[in-house]
């Protein structure tokens, strides 16, 4: 099965319902734009899709070669690459050390760390300095590069370009179009409507 299916997802924060009855199907090459007001629940939905949060109800089914993979399976086994404002890389490690560490955790040993780093425009000469010396934009590029480790089928980015300069944004777009043209699925949450309009095939709005 090569589609991503969301089936009746509902999420609440305490007694407040964020969204419910969210169902959609994404085919290879699809890209989904998630929009909504601040605090509407975009990040919550993306976290559910990435397997980081457990929804109140509903299931997510992921593309898989053999057998069903759902969000009930362990998060580290899902074919997902995620980048969001809530997650960080280790400040004390360098860019390449971070990449090698996280790739190794998933059992991947020959990851082209250098290539991924340059793909997002990071200077390889600085890639052995600790991340604490990076600017916010550089850190964001590293996080985006990290989400590509293992060439996951589903790429989920939450507000990826907010801290990037224009060259960073261009590189991100190249990554997205390359990913979807290879048959990957892409999900993004953004407040930037023009950017969204350009390359989304499906749009999901949370709230009025």
């Amino acid at each position: 099965m090569d589609v991503l299916e969301a089936d009746e997802i509902a999420m609440a924060y305490g007694p407040r319902v964020l969204f419910q009855n969210v169902s959609f199907t994404l085919k290879p090459g699809d890209s989904l734009i998630v929009t909504g007001r601040n605090g509407a629940g975009k990040s919550s939905l993306l976290k559910v899709l990435a397997g980081l949060s457990r929804p109140v109800s509903g299931t997510v089914r992921y593309p898989s070669d053999a057998g069903a993979v759902t969000n009930a399976d362990p998060t580290d086994e899902l074919p997902v690459g995620y980048c969001g404002p809530d997650i960080n890389v280790y400040d004390e490690l360098s860019a390449s050390e971070n990449m090698v560490f996280f790739a190794g955790l998933r059992g991947l040993t020959d990851v082209p760390v250098g290539d991924l780093i340059t793909q997002l425009g990071l200077d390889t000469r600085r890639s052995s300095e600790p991340v604490s010396s990076y600017s916010t934009g550089m850190r964001q590029r590293l996080k985006l590069a990290l989400s590509l480790v293992g060439s996951p089928c589903v790429l989920i980015w939450d507000e990826p370009t907010a801290t990037l300069d224009s060259s960073g944004r261009k590189l991100a777009e190249d990554v997205i179009s390359s990913h979807t043209s290879k048959g990957g699925i892409f999900i993004i949450a953004t407040n930037d409507d023009d950017e969204a309009e350009r390359w989304g095939t499906k749009k999901l709005r949370i709230g009025p």
Binding site: Y13, G14, F19, Q20, N21, L204, G207, P208
Partner: protein, 239 residues
């Protein structure tokens, strides 16, 4: 069935009243004790510990159910039983200390059984401290349930294994089960106390369940009213 339960609830008050009256008036003073009259507190002390154990087990069961089904009602019930258990453990400790005073001259002597129950009280108290520090209610429920399971492994050890591991403990052993322990009147009052206290606990647990169901039904209604805000629209664009 509900008729039987109603009858039992009505009988609960006379049963407990009879137990208390018997404990103070009917029972003969205990032999071989420093203060034979006050030693009758044993018929209050033992039911407390027995029903506290029952409540702890029920709380553990609800905690397991929550982790499997993730229904917040189970967490509510686990917390209710856990609270009742803590109350009874405190009463057990206090009545035990009073008994220790009359029998051995001191409220607290760091006897192994006393140390063990003090640790148990601290374990129970920590549950509430942990819950109070977590904002998100589902996370609070998950961590609370996990804590119940992790910490309550210690309870059998603290109540049975540790005190019985050394012979030099002041706490009497096996007086309920051996024939030359308590005399008949004590035994019957004690078990009446167990029955009555279990009844009170069961009633409290049932009320807690009813409160939980009402609360979550109310939430579902308000959730439905706010469904407008939670609406999601999906638009497909053809490129």
């Amino acid at each position: 069935m509900s008729g039987v339960i109603k009858v039992f609830k009505l009988l609960l008050l006379p049963l407990i009243a009879a137990t208390i009256v018997a404990g103070f008036l009917w029972l003969p003073p205990a032999q071989n004790f420093l203060n034979p009259g006050l030693a009758r507190i044993v018929v209050f002390h033992v039911p407390c510990s027995i029903v506290a154990t029952i409540a702890s087990i029920v709380a553990t069961w609800h905690a397991i159910r929550y982790l499997r089904k993730r229904s917040l009602i189970d967490d509510f019930k686990a917390q209710a039983s856990f609270t009742f258990a803590l109350l009874l453990w405190v009463l057990t400790t206090v009545t035990g200390a009073i008994f220790a005073r009359v029998q051995w001259g001191a409220y607290w002597s760091w006897d192994i059984k006393q140390s063990a129950i003090l640790i148990l009280l601290m374990i129970f108290a920590a549950y509430f401290a942990l819950r109070a520090a977590i904002d998100d209610e589902r996370k609070r429920a998950t961590l609370g349930s996990v804590y119940i399971l992790f910490a309550l492994i210690a309870v059998p050890y603290l109540t049975l294994a540790l005190p019985n591991s050394t012979p030099d403990t002041l706490h009497p052993k096996g007086t309920l089960t051996t024939s030359d322990g308590l005399i008949f009147q004590y035994k019957i009052t004690l078990w009446a106390g167990v029955l009555g206290l279990t009844g009170v606990y069961a009633w409290t647990a049932q009320l807690a369940g009813a409160v939980a169901r009402l609360e979550f039904a109310r939430r579902r209604q308000t959730g439905a009213a706010h469904s407008q805000a939670a609406q999601v629209t999906i638009v497909e664009k053809v490129l």
